[in-house]
Structures are given as structure tokens and as C-alpha cells.
């Protein structure tokens, strides 16, 4: 037969491809050299601009070349056509690499700095088109945020767009995230927003409880609830009044209640000032508009400090969510996201027996999601500590013995504690520096806490007795205790390798108790 088609062999193909590649490489090197020559000559003309175009088209991530273009464009005072061309170049580059940081940035830069009449509406359409092709390109989502702001696109339209994207594939962190941004920016109507958003998340949860994206968004929705009060405790100790807050005091907030406003602070949760003699003084926290955000009488302690302010309407919705989560868990007992969200909701709403239920479900979570066991341990620690605080009207004697704690939370709330028993917990992964708030503590028990060292142990000025029995602390870290000047007694046992000599070096007025 004549003229039959013949298929090239793979070796021939490979050789041809290699030759092609080598040719390309030569060209690439030559062009790059050419551009840098232009730059070193200080060329800022059209020719110089042209020189980097081909290179960027094949590799849009050479930031230096983009910067050179910026230099040229700023000097050239470019015409409308040139700007068009520059934008077209970025478009072409983004086709090569849709996730090129520098190409996205350059496009934005041109529109903001060179283009006298940037058409942001066109950009928005472009983003829409782009996101329809690749719905999870976060570069484009980021760019869209900038663009939507520039062309003052109404929030409703953007929300509608994100909803559309979520409906076509809800496994889209960027789209959910943009929604949260839009709601935060709008600021109003938060309540009704939350209600409708929660039902959206619910739908995602039942469709695919193992997809994380919607759960994260739900956490943002619930997490946005502010705890109800600022002040945990106001007490006078040794002619100083102390104010212990539940969260950081915003910069423009003020504390009012005594003759002057010269409050000092330990950190932004502990405030204090010298006083002579005060009775029944009310301390207030006011915001920038002079509205009272919180107030408390001296020598009061607020046990309900961890309760949240939730409107009745939202409470109803959240309770409904709790019910539907329970149903979901009956169908999918191993869905960790459902389980975790259930715990978080339960803890937020605090219905009857919530604490026991939370602990029980956290236990389950540790079994089905062993990789995040420590995270759940820490969460449990927080819940347990908060629960202790909610159930005690004085912090003078704190007993957290055998709570299974792995981390410390709210240690500043124990500022006035004299005796703290933390024995039988697992503090092997904790940073002991958290104890820095226990400045009034005289007796601290860390017995059987799986400690292997005392690194970062803070200087506790009132500490007299520390119980360190049943730990395996290394010799080298005992020195840390030297910072506690009043320390009189260290309880150790023969499990420790520590020698009496070392201990003698730490505390002068030796009272080593070795049972």
C-alpha cells in the first residue's frame, strides 16, 4: 500500500522532545539575560517592556520580571492600549498558572496604580467566570474580595454568588470563608443571618458529615458568640484592688469605679491599683461610647462567667440544631465532626447535665479520632477547669486533683489561691510557665503529674511548699525552683533521682521532706 501513515516510535518521540526542550532552555536563558541587560542599562521603554513578555508567558512566577515591568510602567506613563496589553498579559499568564501569586498581584497592581479608569466591574465578571472554571482557586477568591470592594458590589449579590458556588459544591472553604467575611463586614442583622446560615450548614452536615468545610463554618458561627461578662472577680488584697477579667480588655474600654483611672495591669486580663479602704464600691467597665459593658461589687465572684449571651430566638435554633445533630449521630455515630460540633453546641447552650455529656462524648472522640487525642484532652481540661470555677465561690483552695488535665486554662483566675492541688494529672506536655499567675500561692501540689522536668517554672514569690512526689524530674531542671525565694519545703520521694545535695543548693532554709 502507498502512503500509509506510520506512527513514530517512542524513542524517536523522546529524542525529538528532548531536542525541543534543549532549544527552549537555550532560548529561555538568552531572553533572561537580555532582560537583565536592559535593566542594568536603566532602559524604561517599550522595548524593555517587550523583552520580559515571552518569559513571563512561559513562567509567570519570576517576581523580578514583574517588578521590572512595574518600574517601566511607572516611568512610561502608559497609554490605554498599553494598559490593556498589560492586563492581557496577566490574563495569559494566569492561563499558564492559575495559581501564580505574582501574576494575580501584578494585575491588581496595574489596575490600582497605573490604570486611570480601572474597570472593576469587568474584573468582577472575570472572577465569576474564573471561579466557575475552578471553584476552589483561593487566589481568585482573594482577588474577588478586593474587586468587590472596589466596585462596591452589594453584599447581597456577593452572598448570592457564594451561595451559588456552595450549592454546586459545598466542599469549598474559600466560599464559606468569603461568606463569613461578608457577614462580618455587613455587621447588621447578625441574628437572622446566623439562623439562616446554620440551616445551610445543617443541610451540608446531613449530606456529607465527613466533609470538614461546612463544619468549620459552623464553628465560626457558634464561636462568634461572646461570653456574657467581662469581670470574673474584684477583690482587695493587701491594700490593692484586683480586677480579674474573663477576656482581654479592648483598648478603648475603661475601668471606672474609684477616684482615678490609673489602673495598672499585669496583663490585659488582670488589673490592679492601690486603695486605702473601700467598701461596697462598684467597679464598672465602659466602652468607647461610655456605655456600661459590665459591673461588679467589690469582693464578688462570678461563677457564671462562662455562660454566653444568646438571644431566645437563636437559642431555639441552636436547640433545634442540637436535636438534629443527635439524629445525625444516631445515623452516623462515628462522624467526628458531628460529634465535636455536638459537644461544642452542648457546651455553648449548657442544658441540664451538659457537662457530663460533653465529657462522655469527648471520650468517644478520643477513640474514633485518635490522631487528635491530645486536642480533645486539652479541650476536656478546659471544660473541667471551667466547670470547677462555675461550681466554687472561692478560689482560695483549688482542688483539681485527678481531673485528667493535660493543659492549663484560666490560670489567672486563680490569682488569689493559696492552696492549689493539681496532683494526679498529666502535665508532661504542658508549659509550666502558665503558673506565673499563681503569685499568691503558698502550697502547690504537682504530685504524680508525669513531670520530667521543671523547665519554665515561674518565680512564685509566695510559694512555700511544693509537692513533687511521684514524678521523674531530671537533675538539671531543679535549678528553676531557685527563683522561688520563700520556698521552704520540696516534697520528693525515692522515685526521683534528685540528690539531697542538689536540693540543698536550691533552698537555703532546708526543710526537705522525703517520705
Amino acid at each position: 500500500m502507498h502512503n500509509r501513515l506510520k506512527v513514530r516510535t517512542t524513542e524517536a518521540q523522546k529524542a525529538a522532545a528532548d531536542r525541543e526542550k534543549e532549544k527552549k532552555l537555550q532560548l529561555y536563558r538568552k531572553s533572561l539575560k537580555n532582560v537583565f541587560e536592559h535593566r542594568s542599562h536603566g532602559d524604561h521603554d517599550d522595548l524593555a517592556l517587550k523583552s520580559s513578555e515571552g518569559l513571563l508567558r512561559s513562567n509567570p512566577d519570576i517576581v523580578t520580571l514583574w517588578n521590572y515591568r512595574k518600574e517601566i510602567l511607572l516611568r512610561l506613563n502608559p497609554s490605554k492600549e498599553m494598559i490593556e496589553e498589560e492586563l492581557y498579559l496577566t490574563e495569559k499568564c494566569l492561563q499558564v498558572n492559575p495559581k501564580s501569586y505574582s501574576a494575580w498581584y501584578h494585575r491588581n497592581w496595574v489596575l490600582e496604580n497605573v490604570d486611570p479608569n480601572p474597570d472593576w466591574n469587568k474584573e468582577l465578571l472575570l472572577c465569576t467566570k474564573y471561579l466557575k472554571m475552578d471553584e476552589r482557586n483561593f487566589h481568585c477568591w482573594d482577588y474577588r474580595q478586593i474587586v468587590a470592594l472596589k466596585c462596591q458590589e452589594p453584599h447581597e449579590n456577593e452572598l448570592k454568588f457564594t451561595l451559588e458556588m456552595i450549592e454546586s459544591n459545598f466542599s469549598n472553604y474559600s466560599a464559606w470563608h468569603y461568606r463569613s467575611k461578608l457577614f462580618s463586614a455587613a455587621g447588621k442583622d447578625e441574628e437572622s443571618t446566623k439562623i439562616s446560615e446554620l440551616s445551610l450548614v445543617e443541610s451540608a452536615a446531613f449530606t456529607d458529615p465527613f466533609d470538614q468545610s461546612a463544619w468549620i463554618y459552623q464553628r465560626w458561627l457558634i464561636g462568634k458568640l461572646e461570653p456574657s461578662k467581662y469581670i470574673y472577680n474584684a477583690s482587695i488584697i493587701e491594700s490593692k484592688i484586683y480586677l480579674i477579667l474573663n477576656r482581654n480588655l479592648p483598648n478603648n474600654y475603661k475601668i471606672i469605679g474609684l477616684d482615678n483611672n490609673n489602673w495598672e495591669h499585669f496583663d490585659s486580663k488582670i488589673w490592679f491599683k492601690e486603695v486605702d479602704c473601700v467598701d461596697n464600691i462598684e467597679i464598672k467597665i465602659i466602652n468607647e461610647l461610655n456605655q456600661v459593658e459590665d459591673k461588679i461589687l467589690i469582693n464578688n465572684i462570678r461563677q457564671d462567667i462562662f455562660n454566653f449571651i444568646i438571644s431566645e430566638q437563636l437559642q431555639l435554633v441552636m436547640k433545634a440544631q442540637l436535636d438534629s445533630l443527635q439524629q445525625l449521630l444516631e445515623m452516623e455515630p462515628e462522624s467526628k465532626w458531628a460529634l465535636l460540633t455536638y459537644v461544642l453546641l452542648l457546651y455553648t447552650l449548657k442544658p441540664k447535665n451538659y457537662f457530663e455529656k460533653c465529657i462522655e462524648n469527648l471520650k468517644l472522640l478520643k477513640v474514633i479520632d485518635t490522631l487528635r487525642k491530645n486536642y480533645y484532652n486539652d479541650l476536656e481540661s478546659r471544660y473541667r477547669i471551667e466547670n470547677w470555677i462555675a461550681n466554687n465561690n472561692s478560689t482560695e483552695f483549688v482542688t483539681l486533683k485527678g481531673y485528667g488535665l493535660t493543659a492549663f486554662y484560666h490560670m489567672h483566675m486563680f490569682l488569689f489561691s493559696k492552696h492549689i492541688d493539681l496532683s494526679d494529672n498529666d502535665l508532661s506536655k504542658s508549659n509550666l510557665n502558665h503558673f506565673k499567675y499563681l503569685t499568691m500561692c503558698k502550697h502547690l501540689s504537682l504530685k504524680n503529674c508525669q513531670l520530667v522536668n521543671l523547665n519554665n517554672f515561674p518565680a512564685l514569690q509566695n510559694l512555700e511548699i511544693i509537692d513533687l512526689r511521684e514524678n521523674q524530674i531530671q537533675d538539671t531542671s531543679w535549678e528553676e525552683l531557685k527563683k522561688c525565694k520563700l520556698l521552704k519545703s520540696i516534697l520528693v520521694d525515692n522515685k526521683q533521682t534528685v540528690t539531697e545535695k542538689i536540693l540543698q543548693g536550691i533552698i537555703q532554709s532546708i526543710n526537705i521532706n522525703d517520705e
Binding site: H2, R4, L5, R8, K24, F206, S324, Q327
Partner: protein
């Protein structure tokens, strides 16, 4: 007769139906000399797509039968030891053809309308003004009214399929098109909507994750149940016990055991598993798996639809066959098959003897004695040209609906619009296919009555405007729309049938076609009942492997840049790459 065709081939294929074309391509691809004949002036046979005019011509031929050339029983080309077997008549297999128009031949002119109105009403200045407005409205409205003349004038914009079928996105045909590199010859569009008929109305079936998430038709618990069930089916492997005890039960019984709501049962059974009340459980599971595994590859449903109609597909394979040297001759009939000792030696065509090692024949062209007792019936088909979609949304949809019929096979309904280039804009094409029980009209009646407005429309009845119908649907809580009003309005929203065609044709997929043929003759079925092409591909593969057991079936065809032309003697024009050189 003068004939410049070479006279010796390794494979002669008669008929350009789907299976025949795949076999032709596969044989040509491995270097066999292939001759591919079709007596028609179009490709595809019973798999063809027609313009409106071509459809009319086809119908005429079916009604009249084709005039047969006188076939000589003895010919100098046939040796004594050989027997000449006359080829069959493709058109004698199409029955019960019913063609109906529902619109006038021509639209009444505006003048006529006006005078008709004049006789009814007394003139008063106010009315006359009203009338004027009315006339203007009519004039405008005429654009949206259809008559036979107008439809025929747009006849070239139709691609009316004799065998409408869809491709599973991960079905064997899609994989074959990709692996053989034939996909470059075709364009596809995703089916974007699966509908079902439940409680006397059309509902969109949530079949993908996104659908389940977005749908408001099912509750939260149902969403989970549905997803759980679908996951179960996707992940099912024979070694797990999920379906234990249901091996000899129906899918319906299994679904009932899972405590699904009626709503979900319906979606799963009729739409996703594409089954009915009697489908065995494991068959249903397999179908569900097939459905689900094709989801999300190209779109939100598992199906692709070929642009310009399904008739394009056989042509794609023919094109590959030709690229690798296959010889094509349309409008060329084979007259008889020459058989010796239960072996086909050659065919006679237009007075020439064409020798072959293998003969591949479509059933439509097969001599009656090769067919034996192959059934002459099987499929009930309906083609409807309608003036709007059966369920309008703001975007044009491409729809599959398995219309359930109690106790019987469902009616497969495919609706395609102008963007797939199968009909002019403003119209939709509705295909119905089901198993023949009685005849096409009666078999398809339930779906036609439920979905379509098939009364004669004289072109003056005011119909709700297609463009605005979406906004006309009464909103929930709209107190003014009582239930009766809603039903009436619904009736008015149904698409008007402009033209309907019914016919029956044979379905031979369940019949062993190798029973009565010479050893090297291979018969190919016509279109089968299933919605996809699995059967045709499977049959083509098995025919190919019978002919060439040791050769690869349609290996990847090289791209133009991978080819070089080997020139022996007289050099032809150099081979030119059809693709533009790539940008640097």
C-alpha cells in the same frame, strides 16, 4: 458495471450502524483492509440522525419499502460450489409508523383574525382601540406561533435521532472514545437534569452530592439516608454482607427493608437505579453503581449527550476507519452474500464480486435466513417536536426522565434543546423509547398524556408565553392561586406538541445472532432498549475478538504530530498537521 473498487478485502462491513462502525474502525486500526458499505446516502442506518426533510424521506422509504433491484440467482461471478444469499431489506423492519401534526399548515393571517373578531363584536370606539392593541399583540405573538410551513422551513436545524441514547460518563463508550483517541471527532454536552414522575408531577431527582445538599424536596434525615444508601452501593463489593438475604429478592424489597421514605424509594428505584418494581436486588445495585460511578466526571449527572444528535457517533468510528485506510462507499448496496461450506467468500454488489475473509453485517441488511427467528419487534419509539421544555427553568436543560409505568418497563424520555443543535431555537425535542408491548402509540400513551399537550392547536389559542412562564408559576402562599387554578395553569404550561412521530422497530439484543450465520459472518444488532451504548460496544468487542483474537481492540490512535507519512512510489500531498503549532 464499471467499478474501480479493489476486489479483495480482509473485512467487509455492510451497514454503518454503531456496532458495525466500531468493528470497522477496530479492524482498520490494526491494519486490516476494510471495505465499509452502506446502501443509504447517510451514515448510521437505524442509528442515524436526520434533518426534518431527511426524516420525511426515510419515512417514505419505510412506508413504500425500497424498490429492489432484480437479483440474479445465478451469476457468472458465483461459482458452482457457492451459494448466493440475498441481502435483506432494512426498511421492512420499521412498523406502525404514525405521523401527526398538531399545528395548521399555515398560520391564519392577521387580517383573517381581525375579520373573525369583527363579526363577533359590535364596534364601539373603545373596543376598536382594544382591538387595535389586540392586533398588535397578535402580530407580535405570531413570532411565537408555529405552523407546519414555518417548521419545515427550519427543517435543516433538526437532528432527529432514530436511536436517541446517552453515554455514561464512565461507561465503556466514553472510555473507548478516550482510549482510542476518537473523542476528538465528537462534542458532547452533559445531561444536567434527571427528572422523575411522582404523584402526578415532575420532580428533579437529587442524584449528586451537590443536588442532595441543595434540594428542598427532601428533609435532613432523608438527605443522610439517601447519601448513606448511595455510598453503600458505591462501596459494595461482593465479599461484604450488606445485601445478604436479598439475592433472590427485588431491589424494592431491599429498599423497603432500609426504612426509606416513599419519596426516597421513588428517587432511588426509578431514577438512580433505573429500575422498576420487579428488578432483582443485585441487578439494581449494579445499575446504581454504574450510575453513581459516572457522576461528577463531566457534570452533575452521569450522562453525556452527543451534540448534533446520536447519529454523529457511528461516523466518528467510520472516520477513524478511513484514516487508517478503510474504504468507504455510501449509496452502495450489497446484493447478496456468497457462501461456500458454511463460510462467506465474498459479496456481490453492483455487479462486482468483492472477496472477503470476514463479513460484518447489520441485522437490517442480513438475509432472512441468517436471522432465523430473530424477533421483528421490540422497541416503541416516539419523537415529539414541542414548543417548550416539559419542566421549564431559567436555563435550557438537557433532561433524562425514566417515566415509571406500573408493572412494566419505564418509558425513557430524553429532552434536548436548541443548544445541542438538534432543533431550532424556541423548540425542544422529546424522545421516548420503551419496550414494545402493543404498538408505539399505545405503549407511550401514559407519558404523552402526562407530559404533553397533544390536542390540535390552531395557532390562535393563546398560550402562556414560553419566556415568561417561569414567572407565572404561582408562588407558595399566593392566596390568589387556588388549587384548581394551579392545575389548570399547569395544564397550560405543558408543552404543545407540534409534530409527533411514532414507530416500532426490532430489538435483537437478547437474541443470539450467531446461530444461523456462516462461521465468518458476524451480525450486529440494531439499537437496543437500554439508554446507553454498553451493548453496542460489548457486541463490537466480541465480534472483533472473534475475528482477531490476538489483536488489541482499538489501541490509542496517534495524534497528527506523532505521524509521519511513509511514501513508497508516487508521493501524495505531504501530510499536514491539522492542529495549529503550539504557542511558545
Amino acid at each position: 458495471m464499471e467499478d474501480d473498487l479493489p476486489s479483495k478485502y480482509e473485512v467487509i462491513v455492510i451497514g454503518t450502524g454503531m456496532t458495525e462502525s466500531i468493528v470497522a474502525a477496530a479492524a482498520s486500526r490494526i491494519g486490516k483492509r476494510v471495505l465499509h458499505l452502506d446502501r443509504n446516502d447517510y451514515y448510521g442506518g437505524m442509528w442515524a440522525s436526520f434533518t426534518f426533510e431527511a426524516l420525511q424521506k426515510w419515512l417514505d422509504e419505510c412506508r413504500n419499502g425500497k424498490t429492489e433491484g432484480s437479483v440474479k440467482t445465478s451469476s457468472p461471478l458465483v461459482q458452482d460450489s457457492e451459494k448466493s444469499v440475498t441481502i435483506g431489506n432494512q426498511f421492512s423492519t420499521v412498523f406502525n409508523i404514525e405521523e401527526k401534526w398538531f399545528i395548521p399548515e399555515k398560520l391564519p393571517s392577521v387580517g383573517n383574525l381581525l375579520s373573525a373578531k369583527n363579526t363577533q363584536t359590535e364596534d364601539s370606539p373603545k373596543e376598536s382601540k382594544d382591538k387595535q392593541n389586540e392586533t398588535e399583540a397578535t402580530l407580535k405573538y405570531n413570532d411565537k406561533l408555529w405552523c407546519q410551513a414555518k417548521l419545515k422551513s427550519l427543517g435543516r436545524k433538526f437532528n432527529l435521532d432514530l436511536a436517541p441514547k446517552l453515554l455514561f460518563s464512565r461507561g465503556t463508550l466514553v472510555e473507548l472514545l478516550i482510549s482510542s483517541n476518537i473523542s476528538r471527532y465528537a462534542e458532547f454536552r452533559c445531561v444536567n437534569r434527571i427528572l422523575t414522575w411522582q404523584s402526578d408531577k415532575l420532580e428533579t431527582v437529587p442524584c449528586s452530592r451537590a443536588d442532595v445538599f441543595a434540594t428542598k424536596n427532601v428533609g435532613l434525615i432523608e438527605k443522610r439516608q439517601l447519601m448513606q444508601l448511595l455510598t453503600l452501593c458505591v462501596e459494595y463489593k461482593p465479599e461484604n454482607d450488606e445485601f445478604k438475604g436479598f439475592e433472590d429478592k427485588t431491589l424494592k424489597q431491599y429498599l423497603e427493608s432500609k426504612g426509606l421514605t416513599e419519596n426516597l424509594m421513588h428517587y432511588v428505584l426509578y431514577a438512580i437505579a433505573m429500575s422498576n418494581d420487579t428488578t432483582p436486588c443485585m441487578v439494581g445495585v449494579e445499575r446504581t453503581q454504574r450510575f453513581l460511578s459516572s457522576l461528577g466526571r463531566y457534570g452533575n449527572t452521569p450522562f453525556l449527550w452527543p451534540m448534533y444528535g446520536t447519529g454523529e457517533l457511528p461516523q466518528c468510528f467510520c472516520r477513524l476507519c478511513a484514516v487508517f485506510g478503510g474504504v468507504y462507499h455510501l449509496k452502495r448496496a450489497a446484493d447478496s452474500v456468497i457462501v461456500e461450506n458454511n463460510e462467506c467468500k465474498a459479496i456481490l454488489s453492483d455487479g462486482s464480486r468483492l472477496d472477503c475473509d470476514h463479513l460484518v453485517l447489520g441485522v437490517a441488511d442480513a438475509p432472512p435466513e441468517f436471522l432465523g427467528s430473530v424477533p421483528k419487534s421490540g422497541l416503541s419509539r416516539g419523537i415529539f417536536i414541542i414548543d417548550r421544555s416539559i419542566s421549564t427553568t431559567d436555563k435550557e436543560s438537557l433532561t433524562l426522565l425514566q417515566f415509571p409505568i406500573k408493572g412494566k418497563e419505564p418509558i425513557t424520555v430524553i429532552e434536548a434543546g436548541p443548544s445541542t443543535h438538534v432543533c431550532p431555537s424556541g423548540l425542544y425535542l422529546l424522545h421516548m423509547t420503551t419496550k414494545q408491548i402493543d404498538n408505539a402509540i399505545n405503549d407511550l400513551k401514559p407519558a404523552v398524556e402526562a407530559l404533553l399537550h397533544s390536542e390540535y392547536a390552531d395557532g390562535t389559542t393563546s398560550r402562556i408565553d414560553t419566556d415568561t412562564q417561569a414567572t407565572q408559576t404561582p408562588k407558595e402562599g399566593d392566596s390568589s392561586a387556588t388549587k384548581t387554578e394551579f392545575v389548570i395553569q399547569n395544564e397550560a404550561l405543558k408543552p404543545q406538541v407540534l409534530y409527533a412521530l411514532y414507530f416500532n422497530c426490532p430489538e435483537t439484543s437478547e437474541y443470539d445472532l450467531s446461530q444461523n450465520v456462516p462461521s465468518n459472518v458476524h451480525l450486529c444488532s440494531g439499537p437496543d432498549l437500554e439508554v446507553d451504548y454498553e451493548f453496542a460496544v460489548k457486541q463490537a468487542k466480541s465480534i472483533f475478538s472473534k475475528m482477531y483474537p490476538d489483536s488489541e481492540f482499538l489501541p490509542r490512535a496517534p495524534d497528527p504530530e506523532e505521524l509521519s507519512l511513509e511514501v513508497d512510489e508516487a508521493a501524495g500531498p505531504p501530510f499536514q498537521s491539522s492542529e495549529e503549532p503550539k504557542e511558545e
